[in-house]
């Protein structure tokens, strides 16, 4: 077998990576408690206690940083750690006395502890200018700027409930942007500039035309070459054409930017899962710290934090007070862009007299 090329063996079995306390109490956890921000204990039916310390992470990590984590895991918890579905790092301790020293060591390498319970956890995000050809904004940079600004809400648990932020750098929405309490979405606002010189070499014209959800793209001959033309009035900048054809770039420094969406959620707790809805149609890309974005988000967080009832997620709160009140209280101007005009638009119109004044 040794000479045959090994494929399709799959990931390592998770059991290899579980600390003994978990193996012993697997499926026997009884309840958990928050001990302090970023630290919780799970108590087993057997009485065993597992302490979790959660540290914030930039997600984009060097191997050196991962090694530092590994060292801390060795030092405090037998080498066992995990990552969360929002990309934080969790250390799995059995000794309560190790909690504070671990936290201190984490602080030393620049990693805050928090994100559990009524707090803001790490921002689920994507590649941006680091690695993706499709990005209308950067990912890591915006996330860093926003989290710096919201730092206290990660390290403390002073919010009415959980608040989940996500960022995607284009409409493909890798990540959870479509169902987040607050979502930051990279957007183009200018139709594709067709590269007529090269299109016929790189792309299949019928595919390109077919890719457009609004039928804005028609085959056309330009300067004697087979190409396509875009009816600019029908373009809503989805970049689906660019995904299938590199000769249709939309990225444009003057017009790219981000939009802000609010009120989505994933969990079934209380309210059914909801999509995020458009709050701010456009904010400019302003690297390195995207001040318009950070301040808009802080305002939204604080508005929600000071008005929502206990447990009420952003979307639940807005649903209770109504969107008109949300726009009034947030000072965001309601514009044509907020009104849906895609396929199911009519179902978003207000079809009752349930109004507040």
């Amino acid at each position: 077998m040794a000479d045959e090329r090994r494929t399709d063996y799959g990931p390592p079995h998770y059991e290899k990576f579980l600390p003994p306390i978990i193996k012993e109490n697997y499926g026997k956890w009884k309840y958990h408690e928050l001990l302090k921000p970023g630290v919780m204990v799970h108590v087993s039916e057997s009485g065993a206690k597992l302490f979790t310390v959660r540290a914030g992470s930039p997600r984009l990590m060097s191997v050196d940083k991962i090694r530092m984590y590994a060292d801390l895991a060795d030092k405090y918890c037998g080498g066992y750690l995990r990552f969360t579905s929002r990309h934080n790092v969790e250390f799995l301790l059995t000794e309560q006395s190790n909690i504070d020293p671990l936290i201190d060591d984490l602080k030393k390498i620049g990693h805050p502890v928090g994100g559990i319970a009524n707090s803001i956890s790490a921002i689920v995000h994507t590649q941006g200018w680091i690695h993706c050809h499709s990005a209308a904004t950067d990912a890591s940079g915006v996330v860093k700027a926003v989290m710096d600004d919201l730092y206290e809400y990660f390290t403390e648990t002073k919010l009415p409930g959980k608040l989940r932020i996500a960022l995607a750098c284009c409409l493909n929405m890798c990540g959870a942007v479509h169902c987040s309490d607050i979502a930051i979405l990279g957007i183009h606002r200018r139709p594709p500039k067709v590269d007529h010189e090269n299109l016929y070499k790189m792309c299949e014209i019928p595919n390109v035309s077919a890719s457009c959800p609004t039928a804005a793209i028609r085959p056309a001959t330009v300067d004697g070459k087979a190409s396509v033309e875009v009816d600019e009035d029908r373009c809503m900048f989805c970049a689906n054409c660019f995904t299938v054809c590199p000769a249709m770039p939309l990225a444009d420094p003057l017009n790219d930017g981000v939009s802000i969406w609010v009120g989505g959620k994933v969990s079934n707790a209380r309210h059914e899962p909801m999509f995020s809805k458009l709050a701010i149609p456009f904010l400019p890309n302003n690297p390195p710290r995207w001040p318009e974005v950070t301040s808009a988000i802080r305002k939204l967080v604080e508005l929600w934090a000071s008005n929502a009832r206990k447990y009420e997620r952003m979307g639940e709160w807005i649903e209770r007070i109504g969107w008109p009140k949300f726009f009034q209280m947030s000072g965001i101007e309601f514009q044509k862009e907020h009104i849906d005009d895609f396929k199911h638009a009519g179902l978003t119109f207000k079809r009752s007299t349930h109004l507040t004044f």
Partner: protein
């Protein structure tokens, strides 16, 4: 006249039972009029065969009017000659459907003479329906009706006969004078009501409060529904009386409030009016204790209709609150703009609600020069497919963006 009625064993079954029988009514008419007799025969036949016997109507009507008559012919004219034509006339009811016995008798006398003697009091749109006459009687009927001041209602692609709830005439909750408004609009749009010139029909319905007793939000292209924007008027003593008389205010009233803005501590009922959605429930439940506020007007909604073709619609908010004062000029100006646009751009048989969905509410508002406001939507868009309208040109670094931003 004295001909025996046809044998109608199946219909006869429908003379039994507690609810008043339409068969009895047709028989009453049939005693005086051969149309009724033939109608009985034809209907009995439909009951046996489980199929209708009416054909598409041709264009019939009265002079100078393009609508108001539904032409109807049966497909067995030899067997039922008295109803070979059997056209219906739609007569514009008085606002609120109030009558004097005298007015009713006037109509009866005309219709006994000129038609089948059968009516619908009323049709679903609100008209007095004079059910069945022959082509030659249409104009004389109209002439006779004119003498007692009854005019014809709508049909075809025109304004349909507006209707309204009894409002201030008999209801304590009317937030504006529905009958006055209904009459006023009816008179203003006489031409549009009588001469079809739209892409499709257009209905107005006026309800005095959100209980919407004429179903305007479901059945009219423009729904005018009364509401208020200040505080609900509370009579504390009357609240106490309800409580004392055993009402469970907490579960019956507070627990049903969709605004979740009421509180009852066993003594005092508090309403946080800022979050009241003006649903009427608490007022309905405690009519002696609660009343709509004093700053009253109406919400204007647009676009409801039955399913054909694009699916049924409820009306959606166009103006959240407007004072309802004659001559209602602001509303009428808006109506004019909407009609101009719809007549210009609407497709044949496309109701205005479907039209708005097709061109987009945002574009519609642009065209009729109304600013978008959040009250118009249940929620902002969920999809990211935004038609941003302006972009910066790089050749020319001037700010090309419009005032929208």
């Amino acid at each position: 006249m004295a001909d025996a009625l046809p044998k109608t064993p199946m219909l006869d079954e429908l003379e039994k039972g507690g609810w008043p029988s339409f068969v009895t009514e047709i028989k009453l008419a049939a005693e005086k009029n051969p149309m009724g007799k033939d109608l009985l025969g034809l209907l009995e036949r439909s009951y046996k065969e489980k199929i209708g016997h009416w054909k598409h109507g041709g264009i019939v009507g009265v002079m100078g009017y393009g609508g108001g008559v539904i032409g109807r012919y049966n497909d067995l004219p030899e067997e039922y000659p008295n109803i070979s034509h059997f056209h219906t006339m739609r007569i514009n009811q008085p606002a609120g459907w109030f009558y004097t016995s005298e007015a009713l008798r006037g109509i009866c006398d005309i219709w006994e003479k000129r038609g089948s003697g059968l009516t619908n009091m009323h049709g679903s749109t609100g008209d007095i329906i004079l059910l069945g006459t022959s082509t030659d009687q249409l104009e004389p009927t109209f002439q006779d009706l004119a003498k007692i001041d009854f005019d014809i209602g709508g049909s075809g692609s025109d304004v349909r006969t507006p209707s309204c709830c009894c409002g201030m005439a008999r209801c304590e909750w009317a937030c504006y004078d529905t009958m006055a408004a209904c009459y006023d609009f009816t008179m203003t749009y006489q031409d549009e009501l009588h001469r079809p010139a739209f892409p499709y029909k257009f209905k107005f319905k006026f309800s005095g409060c959100p209980n919407d007793c004429v179903a305007s939000i479901a059945r009219s292209d423009m729904s005018i529904i009364g509401t208020w924007r200040d505080e609900i008027q509370i009579d504390k003593d009357a609240v106490k009386e309800y409580a004392d008389s055993g009402m469970d205010i907490d579960s019956d009233v507070v627990g049903n409030c969709p605004g979740k803005c009421m509180a009852w501590d066993g003594k005092e009922l508090k309403i946080n009016d800022k979050f009241c959605v003006h649903c009427m429930h608490c007022i309905n439940a405690m009519p002696k204790a609660l009343r709509p506020g004093k700053d009253r007007g109406a919400t204007i909604l647009i676009g409801s209709k039955a399913p054909i073709v694009e699916g049924a619609l409820l009306s959606s908010v166009l103006i959240p609150f407007i004072k309802m004062e004659p001559p209602y000029q602001e509303i009428k100006d808006l109506v004019d703009k909407m009609w101009d646009l719809w007549c210009e751009e609407g497709k044949n048989r496309e109701r205005i609600g479907e039209f708005i969905q097709r061109i987009g509410l945002g574009n519609f508002l642009d065209e009729i020069e109304v600013d978008p406001i959040p009250e118009m939507v249940a929620h902002p868009r969920e999809n990211p497919y935004v038609f941003y309208e302006d972009y910066y040109e790089d050749e020319d670094e001037d700010d090309e963006e419009g005032d929208d931003e």
